[in-house]
Each structure stands twice: as C-alpha cells, then as structure tokens.
Amino acid sequence: MKNKIIMFWVIVGIALACIFTIYKKPTKLGLDLVGGSRIMLEARTTDTIREITPEVMRRLQIAIESRVNKLGVSETSVAQVGDKRLLVEIPNVTDLKEAEAFLGKTALLEFKQPVLDANKQPQRDDKGQLMWESTGLTGEDLKSATIGSDQTGQWTVSLEFNGKGANKFAQLTEKLVGQQMAIIFDGEEISAPVIREVIYGGRAEISGGNSGFKYEEAEKMVNLLNAGALPVPSEIIQENTVGPTLGADSIEKSKFAGLIGVGLVMLFMIFYYRLPGLIADIALCVYALILFALFKIIPVTLTLAGIAGFVLSVGMAVDANILIFERTKEELKAGRNLFTAINLGFDRAFTSIFDSNVTTVLTCIILYFLGTSVVKGFALTLALGVIVSMFTAITVTKNFMHLIFGTGELKYPALFGLSKDEIGKGYEATETKREKARFGILD
C-alpha cells in the first residue's frame, strides 16, 4: 500500500510538471493552422554546373535563406530534403503568390557584349536580333543595388560594383565604346544601352529600356540582386499555401471537434464502465497533459493532420482501459474476489495491449520515414500518443483502482456496471499453481 501512495504522488507530480510546461512553453503551430507557405524547390543543373553537389546545395540554401529573410517575416525556415531539394517554410504570408514569385527567380544578372564577325561588325541571328556573348561580369561582382530615378523621373536600378567588379566594368566599357552592351536579368534582356564613354568608379545605372521600370519591378530586382544570385536555377515542385483565414478556421474547428470527441468518449466510459470508467477518464486527462507537454518539449509542430492523430489517439488510449475493464468484469463474473479480478484484468490484458500497440507504432514508424511532411505530423502524434497511453492507461489506472478499491470485497457490483446475479456465473478458469502465484490470485 505504501508503494501505491508514493506512486500516486509521483503521478500527481508528473501531472503538475506537465501543466507547468504547457503553461510556460508556446505551442508550435503548423503552417496549415497559422497560414503560410510551404514550398519545395528542386535544384536544376545547368551547362556550367552539371552535377548538384552538396557544395552547390549549400550555396543554394544560403542564397535562398537570404532571400527568404528579405521577406521580413519571422520564423522562416529553409531545410535541405534529400539530395537536391530545399523545403522553404514561410509563415504568415498574406499574398499567396508573393513568396513564390520571389523564390523562383535565379536572379542572375549578366552583362553581355555583341558577338563580332570578322569585320568587327555585330552579328545578328536569323531573326535579325543581335547576338550576345558572355563577358564574365555578373551580379556576383556587385557590391549593392539601390533604387534610383533618372532625369525624366523614370525609376532606375543603380548598381555599385565591388573592387574587382569595378575594374572589370571599366575594361569592358573601354572595349565597347560606341557599341551596345546588353544587361540580362534571369535570361531576359532588360536594356542594351550604347556605351558612350569609359565608366570608371564602378557605378552604373540600369533603366528599364523604352517602357521604363515600374516601381515594383525595380524594387523586386533590387531585392533579388542584393540577396544574391542562385548558383543554379531551382524549380518549385511542390507548394502548399494556406491563407490566414483558412488557418484560423481550421484551428478553431479542430479544437471544437477535439473537445466534443474527447468529451463523448469520457461520457461513454462513465456510462458503460461506471466507477472504473471515471478512473479511466482521470487517467485520460493525465494522458492529455503528458502528451501536450511532450509536444511542447520536443517540440512537435501541430498540424491539422497532427491534431487528427492526437484525437484518434485518445480514442485508442481508452482501448487499453476497455481491454482491462472487460477482463476485470469477466473475472468478477467468474467469482473472483475484487483484488484478484483487478490484478488479473491488468495482467491478462497486457499482452493484448502490448501486441496491438506495437503494430500501431510499427505503422507510424513506416509512415514517418516514408511519408510527406503532412503524413509525418500525423504519424508522430499518433505514435507518441500510443506510447504515452501505455503508461497512463496501465500504471495510472491500476494505481487509482487499487487505492480506491483496496483489497476489500466488492459490495456494490453496480460500481462495475454488473448486477449481483451475474457474479459467479461466468466461465470457469483453471490456472496452474505457478500462474496463480504470478497473477496474485487469492482463492
């Protein structure tokens, strides 16, 4: 009995610690609940970079990170997935298409010179367009880019080269005096001004050609240039963006549904199993507390599928208690005394509980390692739930049962939802002496 009282206080202590943790630590909510973008990028090879090496991925990740940071939202994350993919998560996005437009661009700024023929005349292709070739001067040689405006009031992008870039630019303009130089951004020709004189000092200005830049265009280009070019182009292969309204709606509904579901299960337990049912409900509360505290400590990001996993795990957590109580009732019907019946209920149900929970955890492990991030959330919460429920449904319930019922006689079978007539009318059990000793059967 003394051990049981110590155990009781241990359980109370755990519960209080959990309440404290839940109160202190914030819940990490998934993007589908707060609203936001989850974008999967895949790196593509180019003519110059034929293989996506870990080094290329590292550079790509840094470049993407710096762009995402430029969006000015907190708690963004960029993580590598597999060999050549990046998972970008941006919470609280309001403009659903904004983030995407920002990530897709390679932001490769190139300065190109005309291809000259034997007579030093610019060559044209079949369609009469000027042909360009690389000069080796790119956005990597930039120190910074800013928005400016020219005399006519048009928006421009002002470039400042770094030392090396300034030299290259000076040499290039010297070579190209009187000729055109193309400024190409992400493969698109922005303008092709005629170089009138050599430009020293490493400063240049890009105007938006004949039509000029819109302010947004200039701003976006400046941001992209400052964030740096991507070493390789990347393509969006998966995207899920949830607006803040839908997120708020989902979280509210899930909470409500969860409460209703758990409430109904609790009522069912009391209605069907009476006093033991009430004890199971208390164990279920302890279960919910421990699980929530674990979610916050690990931390598990709660998603819609994760909440579904949690709610389902509540349904499954009482499974262990149902198994135990059914068994206890059977033993009572078989005419055993209360203490033995409770012990037998727990001991005999244990193999069933263990076996069935192992298979559930097995499925969860497979889901966790092979599933997408949504599936992972579900698998993790369900697996944690099943494991925690093993503790609460067995240890906690058993402790409370023994404390409440002790070793006395069962005076009121109604407490177990049984009638007096049923006692002693059940199946006849025949245990060996060894089993009697193991199960603590009192004759």
């Binding site: 989902s250 069933s352 497979i366």
Partner: protein, 323 residues
C-alpha cells in the same frame, strides 16, 4: 448496450460471413475495375494532385454557391485557357472568427508553372464572378514528384504489410498471420472500394492523406484481430483438451466482442466529431478512417477468426486422413 452474454456463433454461420464479406466487397471491386479501365491514370480510385501532379486553387466565398453557378465559372475558365479544370464546391459551417466563408470553390488544374500567370488569371476571373471572394489555399505538385510520391506510397504499404506478417508470425503462428493479413486485405479493399465508388459518383479524389488513413486502418484492424487471436491462444492453453477448436473460437470471440465493439466505438466517436465539426481539409481522410474502423471491427471478429477455424479444421482433417 453491448452485453454479449450469449455465445457468438462465428463457426456455425461461416457461410453467412463469407457471403456478407463478398457482398461488402463486390460493388467496390466492380467500381475499381471500372475505374482502372476508364481513368487515364488506370488507377482503381480517382487520384488527386499528390499523385498526378497539378495545382489546386481554393477560394473562400461569403455566399452559398450552387452547382449552376459553377457551370458559368467553368465556361469562364475554358475561355482563359484553363480548360478541363475540375471544379468542386465545399460547403462550410461558418465559425465565429470566420463569418465570411460560406463556400469554398476548389479549382484543380494542370500544374501551373512559376513563369505562368494562369493563377492570377483564374483569381481575377473568380473575383469578377464572386465579389469578396479570396484565395485561401494554393497547393501545387509537380508531375515528377507526383510519380515519386505514388511510388513511395506503395513502398510504405508493402513495408507495413510485411512488418505485420513478421510481427504476428513471431508472436503467434504463421497461419494466424495469414488470416490477419487476409483480414487486412479485406478491410483495405472495402475502403478503397468505397472511395472508388465515391470517386465515380461524387468525384472524391484520394491524396497523400488517404494513404495515411489506409495505413492507420491497417494498424487498427490488426489491433482488433490480435486481441481476438490472443484470446484464442489463451483459451487453447486452458481448454484445448476439453473443447474443439471451433468451440474455442466461438468462446474467444464471445469474450472479446464487447471490447472490440467498445474500442471501435470510442475511436469512431472521436472520428465522427472530427468529421462533423473539424476542418474541411481533413474530411475525406477522417471518412476513410471511419469506414475502416467499422469494417475492421467486423473483419477481426468474424472474418479472421473464421479463417483460422477453417485452416485448423483442414489441418485436423488432414491429420486424421494421415492416421
């Protein structure tokens, strides 16, 4: 409530259980064959963008939208080049924080490339037709990734079943494992069959979460089966010499049926709460699990125990013939 004091006759009525299972499975199997012949993807169910690739744009609309309104929307979309888009309306119960969304229009198109402004065009078209509508969700999956996800799903499914066979073979006998797996196939076929029928008549598409539901059903159904088998094993130890195998099966089922039904009931209650009061996005996922829980309970009580009995009976008959 569920007071099963009478013996449940699994063995005696086994023809009945076989017929019932056949009746449950047949419509679904027909629907699956029909789907495999008729769908361009040759899949037994209508598959969503997770597996085929594509883009889904969802708009929240502050008024109730009906199917007639949608035919107009469809024409508009055809005009701007988003032809063959699949449009679906989801009705939403407005909540405190979210009074402005009564319906969700969900438009599924081909995968919209980053460079394309198709998404903006569709948004403009929708907002012209439904004032105050807003884009609330965008999901996009590239075609290659879709194929990859599909492959991963099949691997996951195969691994899960393999894991179950190994585990049950270790804990029980191999024949129990076979019976349990046949029970699983029974349950999975039924759920996939229902979704195949829903796909044909209500255009329900399965996504990555559906696979999760299937795997959860597998876990749950095995759960029930194991409890029943565990009891058969225990009873065999105590009464194996006094009773026939069939009697032991009946007794074991009788002893565990209250537990099986009650456990499923609690899981069902929580799922039903999620289905009726939870978010729109997980509805099909929850529905699949609800169906799975019910059929899984039936199969583990009646179908699997019957199979074990048939197997044991044959073995006994063979042993007799050998003597």
């Amino acid at each position: 409530m569920f007071n099963f004091n009478k013996t449940v006759h699994v063995v005696k009525y086994r023809i009945l259980w076989i017929c019932l299972s056949a009746c449950l499975l047949l419509p679904g199997i027909v629907a699956m064959i029909y789907s495999m012949i008729n769908y361009p993807t040759h899949s037994p169910v209508k598959v969503g963008i997770d597996y085929t690739g594509g883009t889904i744009l969802q708009y929240g609309v502050p008024e109730s939208v009906n199917n007639e309104d949608i035919s107009k929307t469809r024409e508009t979309l055809d005009k701007i080049g988003a032809e063959n888009s699949y449009i679906q309306i989801l009705n939403v119960n407005p909540t405190e924080k979210n009074k402005n969304i009564k319906s969700i229009i969900s438009i599924r198109t081909k995968f919209i490339d980053e460079g394309s402004d198709m998404a903006e065009q569709i948004t403009n078209a929708i907002q012209k037709e439904y004032k105050n509508s807003e884009l609330i969700q965008v999901s996009s999956v590239g075609a290659t990734l879709g194929k990859e996800l599909f492959r991963m799903s099949l691997i996951a499914l195969a691994l899960a079943i393999l894991g179950m066979i190994i585990y049950i073979s270790l804990r029980f006998k191999f024949e129990y494992a076979v019976a349990a797996i046949l029970g699983l196939v029974h349950d999975v076929l039924f759920v996939v069959g229902v979704f195949s029928i829903l796909g044909i008549f209500c255009n329900v598409q399965v996504d990555g979460l559906f696979l999760t539901a299937i795997l959860t059903i597998i876990g749950f159904s095995i759960n029930d089966t194991i409890v029943t088998f565990d009891r058969i094993r225990e009873n065999l130890r105590y009464y194996g010499k006094k009773m026939s195998f069939g009697e032991i099966v009946d007794a074991s089922v009788t002893q565990t049926i209250a537990r099986s039904v009650n456990t499923s009931l609690t899981a069902f209650i929580t799922l039903a709460a999620l289905y009726f009061f939870g978010g729109v996005t997980t509805k099909d996922f929850v529905l699949a699990m609800m169906i799975g829980v019910v059929v899984g309970t039936y199969s583990s009580i009646f179908f699997c125990s019957m199979l074990v009995d048939i197997w044991e009976e044959r073995k006994a008959a063979k042993a007799k013939a050998a003597v």
